[in-house]
Amino acid sequence: MGLLLHRIDDRLIHGQVVVGWGQPLGLRFIVLVDDDVAASDWEQELYRMGVPPDVEVHFLSVIDASTRIAAFHADPRPGILLVNSVDTMQRLIAAAPAIRTVNLGGVHHADGRTQRLRYVFLTPQEEQQLRALEQSGVDITAQDVPGARPIPLQDVLAGRGDG
């Protein structure tokens, strides 16, 4: 068990995570890694309101999360780690290289981003960051919900994902 998913999703905690993944995985803990959320009681309360009471939520900065990754991976319960951006995931893996898989779950439209999948839009810099992670040995696939086919990063970047 431990962390079954290291997910990039700009919505962080939401329906796909709590219900879509949470129900079939029997989710028991969430590690939400975000420097801003970790520093804001209001943000934490907002996200905690969306989580069933039997699911534990850890709100951690990138640095604090990196020091606890081994413990989270060793946790006997099923868990999900969430970040809201490619940049945060890259910083986290730089500090915690034990993370070897990344799930692209939702990066939505913003200025400068190009659509790669229905739910993945990336800037050239984000694409470069993902390629660099993959070249370092991290397995990166896009998959919004458990029933969907995991799409390898190369197919995502080549626009071959939704067909």
Partner: protein, 139 residues
Amino acid sequence: MTDDAIVVAVVAGHGDYAVGMLSAVEQITGRGSAFVPVSNRGKSPAELEAELAAQLDATGARVIFTDLPAGSCTMAARRLQRARPDVVLVTGANLAVLMEYLFAAISPLGTPVGGLAHTAALARAAADKARDTLSVSGG
């Protein structure tokens, strides 16, 4: 403002949830246009929050109904509430609560009724009634 032109609330949810719910309201009451649908499909959190705000501004409605308590529409609505404390949020909405609220929120004269406290009380009462419509039988 005529009765038909009044928008009492925004309904927001995953996929076609809102459009589907309003289709049912229209079929049952003929007043589906009293709600405005919003979908989270393909939207970033910021885009979703902006659309909710725009719909409230455009319609004058101050109530948002959402589907899942943990859904992205609910999260966007809660963020909106921080800047706009006059917004009332009802999560876990079903067809019954929409219709209860619809008929409570429109006066017999066809005008919206009450201020914020009254609106919130109406929404709470509608939610209480609708909660009772969930039942299980058989087995």
